[in-house]
């Protein structure tokens, strides 16, 4: 029972971390239609900047300043790179952000080296929140979860219940009309992109201290955040939250399962045959838990192409 409880908790916290990284991505896609391949690189950039700043000004300064710097990098990216290729369509935007991801990765290696850097928690945050059946649960995991929940609440309220949110949504649905009403649409797009990048930077600054800050961290999370965004429905912040939690919990639960397809077969008397065939039939579920998000994505795409909460085109 404790094992199940811990697994659930782990899954939820990991899911919230995924949400933190993917929220900016889905926001940028939903509002601007840009599929930003460099998103996970902004996450990495946030972690490295926070590491560099925390060495001089302390952990909290890093967590505050790094996302702002990453947001500024987002402004520059949108204003001077993306806007130029916008007219040529999504293909060009995609390629541009893909190139940007490579540049950021090699740049990080140039400045910080090939190996993980020592970005670790400050001691006052490094304690256990509670213990469950002899295993202590680090407070910082809960802290990550709290930040993610706060992030969701603010984003949701901002988009759905404020005048700013209204204008942003208007600029996305009917840019020409919003422009005609006197709103500066290009400026709104820059702002949205900066916000999305800044959120990724914040996630990096916070999660980088817990998970290793290394030049491969963008690559490690890159694929999974796309899965989250696709499963949740492109552009839906609430959908992202549901998808991340689902993926987190499913991954966490499948890890502990030693169930094999052969066991299923043995209930109808075909166990020996299945074990003889081997291959996929004798692979325990735990060995494929890393593939669970991708299987989930396939199922969702086949049954509900727009994602869980995505709007149909």
């Amino acid at each position: 029972m404790d094992f199940l409880l811990i697994s659930l908790l782990n899954g939820i916290v990991y899911g919230l971390l995924l949400f933190m990284v993917s929220a900016g991505l889905t926001l940028i896609f939903g509002m601007m239609g840009v599929l930003n391949f460099a998103h996970a690189s902004f996450y990495m950039l946030g972690a490295y900047l926070a590491y560099a700043i925390s060495g001089h000004l302390g952990f909290w300064a890093g967590v505050v300043i790094a996302p702002l710097l990453v947001a500024f990098a987002g402004v520059l990216t949108e204003r001077y790179l993306l806007r130029r290729v916008h007219a040529f369509g999504h293909g060009h935007e995609l390629l541009l952000t893909f190139g940007l991801a490579l540049v950021i990765e090699e740049g990080i290696k140039l400045f910080f080296g090939n190996f993980p850097v020592n970005y670790t928690l400050p001691t006052q945050l490094d304690f256990s929140a509670f213990a469950l059946s002899g295993m202590s649960y680090p407070f910082y995991r809960l802290f990550i979860a709290m930040i993610a929940v706060a992030m969701f609440a603010i984003l949701y309220l901002l988009l759905k219940h404020t005048r700013t949110g209204l204008i942003v949504r208007a600029a996305e649905r009917a840019p020409a009309m919003a422009q005609a009403l006197g709103h500066n649409v290009p400026m709104i797009f820059t702002g949205v992109f900066a916000l999305g990048a800044g959120l990724a930077g914040l996630a990096g600054a916070i999660a980088g201290a817990f998970y290793p800050t290394s030049p491969t961290m963008a690559l490690d999370l890159g694929a999974i955040v796309f899965v989250v965004v696709v499963v949740g429905g492109l552009g839906s912040v609430a959908g992202s939250l549901i998808a991340s939690l689902g993926i987190g919990v499913l991954t966490s639960l499948t890890v502990g399962m030693s169930f094999r397809l052969a066991d299923l077969a043995s209930t109808i008397g075909l166990g020996d045959w299945a074990r003889e065939v081997g291959g996929l039939l004798t692979v325990p579920v735990s060995a494929v838990s890393g593939a669970v998000p991708f299987i989930l994505m396939l199922v969702i795409l086949l049954s509900r192409p727009a994602g869980i909460l995505g709007a149909r085109n």
Partner: protein
């Protein structure tokens, strides 16, 4: 770029000068030495995500080459190394292999990734079949995939690295002797050839009754971000020790997750010495073990010399690569200088070579070209001479385990045709 005309020299004049210089250099070299120089190709991942380990292999090989040259080179000439970037892919490695052939290389020395090693080994096998006059030898200094000395073994493939069962044997022996192995062992590994072989090796040891295996799990390679579910599993099993062949992020995340849950297990590993691991894991790394080819603390003279050549103390697979290169150097030194580079003769010389290294007596098994090498087991400790990652902790060598205690029987699947 300035036009040659601006410098007061015509284009033809400049070309002529370069050609003359080249001829001068050639004649000088020809008079200085008689034989053909040895060319070593290093085909490594020098860009992309695996570049971190590729660069270290390269610098270890570079150091080894400098040592050979300082001792007089080969055939009276300096050994030349040419590095090729395979970008971490087998296809990249294969095309770099063709390039190395075109550049006239004789040996390939590399270590990153079992997939790439097996690709290059196949390339070397086919190349030797098609070009019996100019074969090439692959010297693998970093991959433990069992098949390379099993069904895929051939004369032109040498493995200067332990397989999983050797590392597991060294770890369990030393940890057992130290009394830190405990009675219950859990093993967690990456789900591909190396991890599966590591798990099988741990199961084999458990069957001999050294300890009780209380759990084993395989997981996807470098795709898991959150290891806490596995930690819950380890906790539930009641293990004292976790043996793992994991490397890179998969090792660091696992150790951190165990520390975060205040799980007092001890780790026995093969790749804990990768830069960044100790700095990131912090004090929770203390007391964990790593089994490696060597440890530079066993020979401070070597450590200092490496530092004066390469600018830093040897770390991670730099040390392993220098062990392989040291063995190659001994084999080359045992050969008579000749007119040309006889690659087959280098291979035969390696089979005859025995080296008393820092770790103990090393040799090369002729039947399957497995390096018969002792291993060194080290513990993360504050007493270590060479601290890692700017911390006060480092790898303190605990014990050397001799080759005969570790070496496994030649696999039946290895049928190696000998050069005629």
């Amino acid at each position: 770029m300035t036009e040659p005309n601006n410098t007061g020299m015509t284009r033809r004049g400049a070309m002529g000068a370069i050609a003359a210089f080249a001829m001068l250099a050639q004649s000088r070299m020809a008079s200085a030495a008689e034989g053909e120089g040895l060319k070593i190709a290093v085909i490594e991942a020098l860009s992309g995500p695996q570049a971190s380990s590729g660069m270290l292999f390269l610098s270890g090989i570079e150091y080894g080459t400098r040592k050979i040259n300082q001792a007089g080179g080969f055939n009276g000439k300096d050994v030349e190394i040419v590095s090729y970037d395979n970008a971490g892919t087998s296809t990249g490695a294969s095309s770099r292999f063709q390039q190395a052939v075109a550049d006239g290389c004789h040996l390939i020395v590399m270590g990153s990734s079992s997939a790439i090693v097996s690709q290059l080994s196949e390339d070397a096998r086919k190349h030797a079949l098609r070009n019996p006059e100019t074969p090439m030898i692959l010297i693998n200094v970093g991959s433990g995939a069992l098949a390379m000395t099993g069904e895929r073994c051939h004369f032109h493939n040498f493995r200067m690295f332990p397989i999983a069962s050797m590392s597991v044997a060294a770890l369990t022996k030393v940890m057992g002797d130290e009394g830190t192995l405990g009675k219950k062992v859990f093993t967690i590994n990456q789900d591909y050839s190396w991890g599966q072989e590591f798990q099988a090796a741990v199961e084999g040891r458990a069957a001999q009754g050294d300890f009780k295996l209380v759990g084993s799990v395989l997981h996807d390679v470098n795709r898991i971000q959150d290891f806490s579910p596995y930690v819950a599993q380890i906790k539930a099993s009641g293990a004292d020790t976790v043996l793992t062949g994991n490397w890179s992020n998969d090792l660091l995340l696992l150790i951190k997750a165990c520390a975060d849950a205040s799980l007092g297990v001890r780790f026995g590993t093969c790749f804990l010495d990768q830069p960044g691991n100790i700095g990131n894991a912090g004090v929770s790394a203390l007391g964990h073990y790593v089994s490696t080819l060597s440890n530079c603390e066993l020979n401070p003279e070597f450590a200092e010399d490496f530092r004066s050549e390469m600018g830093h103390y040897p770390v991670y697979n730099e040390t392993g690569a220098t062990v392989g290169m040291g063995f190659l150097a001994a084999a080359l030194a045992s050969m008579e200088p000749g007119e040309t580079v006889d690659v087959e003769a280098i291979g035969l010389a390696m089979e005859q070579t025995e080296v008393e290294g820092d770790n103990g007596l090393q040799s090369m098994r002729a039947e399957d070209h497995q390096f018969v090498t002792p291993l060194v087991v080290s513990r993360v400790d504050r007493e270590a001479k060479y601290p890692a990652d700017d911390t006060d902790m480092g790898f303190l060598p605990v014990a050397r385990v001799s080759a005969e205690e570790l070496i496994y029987p030649v696999q039946d699947s290895c049928q190696m045709p000998r050069p005629t």
